[in-house]
């Protein structure tokens, strides 16, 4: 083949580059690997760049490329063959075509023929069709029986924050040349704590179905679930390289001697193996009996507290340690709540973790170291520190406490006067000063709690002016009305005028002049009504007065009394003078009363 090749090349010396492509098999099982080899040959092959990859992402995933170069000198002619092997994994069932691989070189475009392939479902055996792989002795089904990955968990049902130990083991019954983890399971929702890989990988022997397997642990991790529910851990994927050997020799004891990779009798195959997915049921922690200070710790813990000294002087530092130890998720253990005496200055603790990951559990301790500085002398007690956790052994909440620690603080060197802890500039100015002397002047004592605004004086001085103001306002209005409203003025004057006329009548009575007396009384009566009702008294006649008063709704008795007086006056004024002082006095009183009553009602 090489000869024809060469001949062909030489005949086409003008075109010193040839490109071809082939796959190792055209029928591929799903998830099986296949290889696309692109070969460049010719004088220019060495200088030509690597051809681009065909886009076959629709049905295959690219794994990697290896390249090789072959240079031959035959009769002084150099022949170069450069090949690139692209490894793929089939990802989709169906018939597909690998498009041409193209290469642009020296203004020419070189392309390969497209290749048809078929990807079949299941573990169906790929029929090796390329001449190179015809010898492949093992089909995929058998391969999966001989090489597999197993995920094991020590528990399937756990509480929140309880550890699940997950172990991934690789089982192989054929030579394993190497492997690497290609995909880690998604561990969202878990706090994972990985066990360190052993320095020397331990290989155990295990017999399954009568076949002896070598078993190797490749990953071990402790998972702490952060929240309840059913959680599925996706499989772990490992890319392995295994050596396959011929079918007939496989069980041959003699030939198995030659299984040794050193002999290189078999063919190396890359295979991706996946572990089984694991489903874990995470139970929520019971609500019943959950302590208030519970912070989510699950496992088994103990707590202890120590101080480095019990007798100190003020302002001397004490180291106070709280140690939580046990098995569980040490890293998430919270800082315990500690009741320090108020007189202690407390600094943030330094936290140290010490985690042991042995075969079956995650255990360790966490130490919180506080620095305390007592500022005042006296006996102080650090109250017991409590820590609550959910105990897995008896499925209940447990509370552990430390002992109370007594610390006696004796007075340091400072004296009473210079107590200030943080003396500021203002403090300094007082140093060496004494209080000012007492007051010797006789004070004005006042009743205790006597506040000025609650005394009667205050109240009176607040209300009196207001009353005066109201009074003044009223008076002002009165004055204004007097000057502007004649009726009002007359009405206000009515009493005065009536009194004046009655006074005049009184003097006439004493003088013994009945006529003048009756005239004055009559005037007083008529004038009063005239003033009050703002009508001219001169034109008033008795009937008019009577209707006016009645219209005003004044009671009959009062009107009648008034009219009686008026009538008596009119009668007496013109009657022969036979009235005596007694009669006059009676009338005078009657008229006065009538006026008072009228005044009240008008």
């Amino acid at each position: 083949m090489a000869a024809t090749f060469l001949m062909w090349v030489s005949t086409l010396s003008a075109q010193d580059l040839k490109i071809s492509a082939e796959v190792n098999r055209t029928e591929i099982g799903l998830n099986q690997q296949f290889e696309l080899t692109v070969e460049l040959s010719g004088a220019d092959a060495q200088r030509a760049p690597q051809p681009g990859l065909p886009d076959i992402s629709g049905f295959a995933a690219f794994l990697g490329t290896s390249s090789s170069q072959n240079i031959q000198l035959i009769n002084g002619q150099m022949s170069v063959t450069k090949s690139f092997s692209h490894h793929y994994v089939a990802t989709k069932v169906g018939k597909f075509q690998i498009p041409p691989v193209t290469l642009d070189y020296k203004n020419n475009r070189y392309a390969t023929e497209p290749i048809d392939i078929e990807i079949v479902a299941g573990q169906s055996s790929p029929t090796p069709n390329s001449p190179g792989s015809r010898k492949a002795p093992t089909d995929a089904e058998e391969l999966s029986e001989l090489l597999f990955l197993k995920a094991e968990s020590n528990k399937r049902t756990v509480y929140e924050n309880e550890a699940v130990i997950l172990t991934y083991k690789i089982y192989y019954a054929l030579p394993l040349r190497g492997g690497s983890i290609s995909q880690l399971p998604n561990m969202v929702g878990f706090w994972s704590e990985e066990f360190p890989a052993p320095q020397q990988p331990r290989v155990n022997m295990e017999v399954i179905n009568g076949r002896q397997f070598q078993v190797q642990e490749i990953k071990k991790v402790a998972l702490f679930s952060q929240g309840a529910g059913t959680k599925t851990l996706e499989p772990l994927a490992v890319d392995c390289e295994v050596q396959l050997q011929s079918r007939q020799s496989r069980r041959d004891i003699f030939d198995s001697f030659f299984d040794d990779p050193f002999f290189g009798l078999g063919r190396t195959v890359r295979q991706t193996i996946r572990s089984n997915p694991i489903t874990i049921t995470v139970l929520p922690l019971p609500e019943a009996g959950k302590p208030v200070d519970f912070s989510g710790a699950v496992g088994s813990f103990s707590i202890s507290a120590t101080v480095d000294k019990n007798n100190v002087k003020t302002n001397e530092a004490i180291k106070f340690k709280v140690k939580l130890a046990g098995s569980g998720n040490i890293k998430i253990l919270p800082q315990p709540k500690i009741d320090f005496p108020g007189d202690f200055e407390v600094y943030e603790p330094t936290v140290t973790e010490n985690i042991q990951r042995d075969n079956i559990q995650i255990a360790g301790d966490k130490t919180f170291e506080y620095v305390l500085i007592p500022r005042f002398p006296g006996n102080q007690t650090i109250k017991p520190v409590a820590f609550s956790y959910f105990d897995l052994a008896n499925k209940s909440y447990q509370r552990v406490t430390t002992d109370a620690l007594d610390i006696s603080v004796s007075k340091g060197s400072e004296s009473f006067v210079s107590v200030p802890l943080a003396s500021s500039k203002e403090d300094v100015k007082f140093i060496g000063q004494d209080i000012r002397f007492i007051q010797l002047r006789m004070p004005q004592f006042q009743k205790m709690g006597a506040v000025f605004y609650k005394t009667a004086v205050f109240f009176i001085s607040l209300t009196l002016p207001l009353l005066a103001l109201v009074g003044a306002f009223g008076y002002r209005r009165h004055l204004d009305k007097l000057s502007s409203d004649e009726a009002y003025a007359r009405s206000r004057k009515a009493n005065k005028m009536a009194l004046k006329r009655l006074g005049e009548a009184n003097t006439q009575m004493r003088k013994g002049d009945p006529k003048a007396f009756y005239a004055e009384v009559s005037k007083a009566l008529m004038g009063f009504i005239g003033d009050k009702l703002n009508v001219s008294a001169a034109g008033l006649i008795t009937e008019e007065v009577e209707t006016m008063l009645r219209r005003r709704g004044i009671s009959e008795a009062v009107v009648q009394e008034y009219l009686d007086c008026l009538k008596t006056c009119d009668f007496m004024r013109f009657a022969p003078s036979e009235s005596d002082n007694g009669q006059m006095k009676v009338l005078f009183e009657k008229a006065r009363k009538a006026l008072i009553n009228l005044d009240k009602r008008i």
Binding site: Y453, S461, L469, F473
Partner: protein, 255 residues
């Protein structure tokens, strides 16, 4: 001297109705207490000063002297209590403020005052410039003057007076608004803030008014707190820096 005494007694009688007999008794006690103080017998001085208080009377000088006696007797918390009482009666007195500041140096707890809006600081400072009583008297005087002027304005109609009164009424009105405003602020402060001094050497302040309550912080003698609420034996206190907690009222004495 006799005249002065007469004036004092007369004034006391007029304003607060103290009988001359009682005034004389208090005077004797005050002089006696001062004598004790000067001779260095502070506890006896305290007892004498206290007797005046027991009669139900007070004055800033009494509290100031009592505070001094306590200070000398190394009872810092009580000294502060009495200085604070004196300051309430005479807020701007230099002697009181000096001694109070000095006594406060011995208080262990340093409580920073919360910064206030500057405008409120001014108003508050302005209001404390004068004693509550003086402020009240000024306000009342202005009030009487203002009302009097209004009355005159109502009654007197002469145009000369009207012209004169207009300006005066406005001036007194503005002054009245200012002073009565300050007075009201002071009255409000006086009524709304109840302050007390911690007398016990050390008190743990609880988060709730129960013995089992969590200790929130602790206070030492001499600290001034504001009383916010009462609940049985317990009082809710507030510090100048805004911290809140509960304590038994027995550890406190109201200023």
């Amino acid at each position: 001297m006799r005249l002065q005494k007469f004036v004092v007694v007369a004034f006391a009688l007029v304003t607060f109705g103290i009988s001359p007999l009682l005034a004389g008794e208090m005077e004797t006690l005050f002089i006696k207490a001062n004598d004790y103080y000067q001779s260095g017998n502070y506890s006896a001085a305290i007892a004498e000063y206290q007797k005046i208080r027991d009669l139900g009377y007070e004055s800033w000088e009494l509290y100031y002297n009592l505070g001094n006696a306590y200070y000398k007797d190394r009872q810092i918390a009580r000294a502060i209590l009495n200085y604070e009482r004196a300051r309430k009666l005479a807020p701007k007195n230099e002697d009181i403020n000096f001694n109070l500041e000095l006594a406060n140096l011995s208080v262990v707890d340093r409580i920073p005052r919360l910064p206030q809006f500057i405008f409120f600081e001014w108003i508050s400072n302005l209001a404390t410039l004068l004693s509550l009583k003086l402020l009240g008297i000024i306000s009342i005087t202005l009030y009487v003057l203002f009302v009097g002027l209004l009355i005159l304005k109502l009654l007197v109609k002469s145009s000369a007076f009207v012209r004169f009164s207009k300006g005066v009424v406005i001036i007194t009105g503005v002054l009245l608004v200012i002073f009565s405003g300050l007075f009201s602020i002071r009255v409000f402060e006086n009524e709304s803030t109840v302050e007390a001094i911690v007398l016990s050497e050390k008190v743990d302040i609880k988060s709730a008014p129960v013995e089992a309550g969590t200790d929130v912080f602790s206070l030492h003698q001499g600290v001034k707190v504001q009383i916010k609420e009462h609940s049985g034996d317990w009082v809710k206190i507030r510090l100048a820096d805004g911290k809140i907690g509960w304590m038994k009222h027995t550890h406190l004495e109201q200023i």
